[in-house]
């Protein structure tokens, strides 16, 4: 569905995307996980044929965005990072207007708009002004709008950023349904739980580069370990704890306020720390996540 080789995007001298390779297959949910400024939106805009690549090769839906932009976009639904709904129009009219850009007959758009409002659980809001919608409803309307022309590829730039947990889960559930219908989904996020929940495969992006790639669980297994021990200790005790963990063969990252150690048995790591005689101020043993992958690979956290 999407192939990229050494894909690069520069704004003046600033490199937003520094030569990435991608292979996104039909029917999969593919994620871009990375912090703000990683280059996710720049990449989405290139894939959506809204922004020309500075260099490198890109192929979307089997065509070249540089020459076939309109034809490629005819089969893409884009959910931009910031909702771009027309506040002066009603919920239904936002869908109708959008369908006209694809030159669909009014009758077809109306029919589809009805189905999509059901899908987005907005059917009872069809006549409402966009202003009156909650953040979650707006997001669902934006998703519904992206589906008006029955795209085979849907690109979602941070679909749930800023939504409360309930609204996020509703969005996720709708995205599962799209996936079940065989729609290819590309999404960006800086929430590791979102990436873990939704994506078949993902890339971890940082400063315009891809630092890891694979299915979420495989990435965790490859780069971290099964479990993570987080301990908070006094600065004076830190060296002793790190040395103990080292002897235990566990990888270890120092954060501002705590240490993270990785191993297949978190309790064993904790026992090793306690055996030094240090009294930790706080302790947490948990399952390793993509957050830890990012931390391991970049030394920084995804969300500050």
């Amino acid at each position: 569905m999407v192939r990229a080789r050494r894909l690069r995007k520069q704004f003046g001298d600033f490199v937003a995307v520094g030569g990435i390779d991608l292979e996104i297959r039909r029917g999969e949910v593919f994620g871009f996980l990375g912090p703000n400024g990683a280059g996710k939106t720049s990449t989405m805009r290139m894939i959506a044929c809204m922004s020309p690549a500075t260099s490198g090769e890109l192929e979307v839906r089997g065509r070249d965005p540089a020459t076939d932009g309109p034809a490629i976009r005819a089969g893409i639904g884009l959910v931009p990072q910031e909702d771009a709904l027309d506040a002066e129009l009603s919920v239904l009219d936002n869908l109708l207007v959008y369908g006209r850009y694809f030159d669909l007959p009014r009758r077809v758009i109306r029919e589809r708009a009805g189905q999509l409002l059901e899908f987005a659980q907005l059917a009872d809001r069809a006549g409402a002004k966009v202003d009156a919608l909650s953040g979650g409803m707006r997001r669902r309307l934006t998703i519904a709008r992206a589906l008006v022309a029955a795209p085979e590829l849907v690109i979602l730039d941070e679909p749930t950023t800023g939504l409360d947990p309930q609204a996020r889960h509703l969005v996720w559930e709708r995205l599962y349904r799209l996936k079940r219908e065989g729609v290819t989904l590309i999404l960006t996020t800086h929430y590791m739980d979102e990436a873990e929940q939704l994506c078949d495969r993902l890339v971890v992006m940082d400063r315009g580069r891809i630092v890891a790639e694979g299915p979420p669980r495989a990435l965790v297994a490859e780069h971290v370990a099964r479990e993570v021990l987080e301990v908070r200790v006094l600065p004076a005790d830190e060296a002793a704890v790190v040395a103990a963990l080292d002897r235990h063969g566990a990888g270890c990252d120092r954060l501002a306020d705590r240490l993270c150690a990785y191993g297949d048995d978190g309790d064993a790591l904790l026992a090793a720390v306690l055996a030094t005689g240090v009294h930790p101020e706080g302790v947490l043993v948990r399952r390793a996540s993509l957050e830890d992958v990012f931390l391991r690979l970049t030394g920084r956290r995804l969300v500050d």
Binding site: E88, R100, Y101, F102, E118, A150, K179, Q197
Partner: protein
């Protein structure tokens, strides 16, 4: 986590029958409308909500101006003219007839200003309607052309109402005055295209009110709308004759007064056409830079 994987494995094959969104059925496509017409369609659709108040405004403006300046002030002017209106350079035989084309061109310029500054910024920053269009098969030039065409439609509507009101005031000499409508559209385009080229480069709307105060108002007052330019000192007269509104006023005057078309009118029209073309080429460049970065 497990749940995702299960969906991932069974997904694409299992549930095809359900199709809650009706996706997958392809839409039948008819003969295609040009993409820029689809962009125009959006602006027209959006206009429906305010259409009636726009029309009311288009009606009230000429009524007020023609009454106050054409009839009120005009009566005074006509009364005090020695040697007749024509000798004073007021072509048309009365101040009302003289000032009517000037008011039309001036109001068209202001509509073009209003429609190609704040709405352009709105389409970029507020509704983000440009970005929305650009995620569909529309290209940057379609978006630009569609919006420019909408400004032309707004000007056209206003001009039709204006000419009707002017006729009711008895300010028009002959049916040929309807030619003032296409002239007005040309004037509108000549202002709108370069203004859109400028507006799309702005991050904030501060410049628009400055433009109104320092450019549009002086043009409105000193382009031969209200008095013949020969009243101005030589150098200012040359300056005024170089402005686009002067040419618009002159062209509208020929149309509305029913005087014979002269070579100078070809010059006026040519000036406006060239300005429109330059504005369009510039706008294409600035639109691309801003919207397809």
């Amino acid at each position: 986590m497990e749940r995702v994987e299960r969906v991932g494995v069974t997904g694409a094959v299992a549930d095809v029958g359900a199709r809650p969104t009706g996706l997958g059925e392809l839409c039948p496509r008819r003969l295609s409308r040009p993409p820029w017409v689809r962009a125009l369609g959006y602006f027209l659709f959006r206009w429906r909500r305010t259409f009636r108040s726009t029309l009311a405004g288009n009606f009230v403006y000429p009524v007020l101006y023609l009454a106050a300046i054409g009839v009120g002030l005009g009566g005074l002017v006509d009364h005090h003219l020695h040697g007749g209106a024509t000798a004073a350079g007021l072509s048309g035989g009365s101040y009302l007839a003289f000032v009517t084309p000037g008011l039309l061109a001036g109001s068209v310029m202001q509509i073009a200003l209003g429609e190609s500054t704040y709405p352009v910024m709105g389409a970029i920053r507020w509704e983000r309607s440009y970005e929305t269009m650009l995620a569909t098969p529309l290209e940057v030039t379609d978006v630009l052309l569609g919006h420019l065409a909408f400004v032309a439609v707004r000007v056209l509507t206003a001009a039709v109402v204006f000419v009707a009101v002017a006729a009711a005031f008895g300010a028009l000499a002959s049916p040929e005055a309807v030619l003032a409508v296409p002239v007005a559209v040309l004037v509108g385009a000549a202002f709108a295209a370069p203004l859109m080229a400028f507006s799309v480069t702005r991050e904030r709307d501060l410049a628009f009110s400055t433009l109104q105060r320092l450019v549009i108002v002086p043009l409105f007052l000193f382009s031969g709308s209200f008095f013949p330019l020969r009243q101005l000192p030589g150098i200012l007269q040359g300056l005024a004759e170089a402005t686009p509104l002067y040419h618009g006023v002159a062209l509208a005057r020929t149309a509305m007064l029913g005087t014979p078309w002269r070579l100078a009118d070809v010059g006026h029209a040519g000036y406006l056409v060239v300005l429109t073309a330059i504005g369009y080429v510039l706008a294409r460049r600035t639109y691309r830079r801003r919207l397809a970065a």
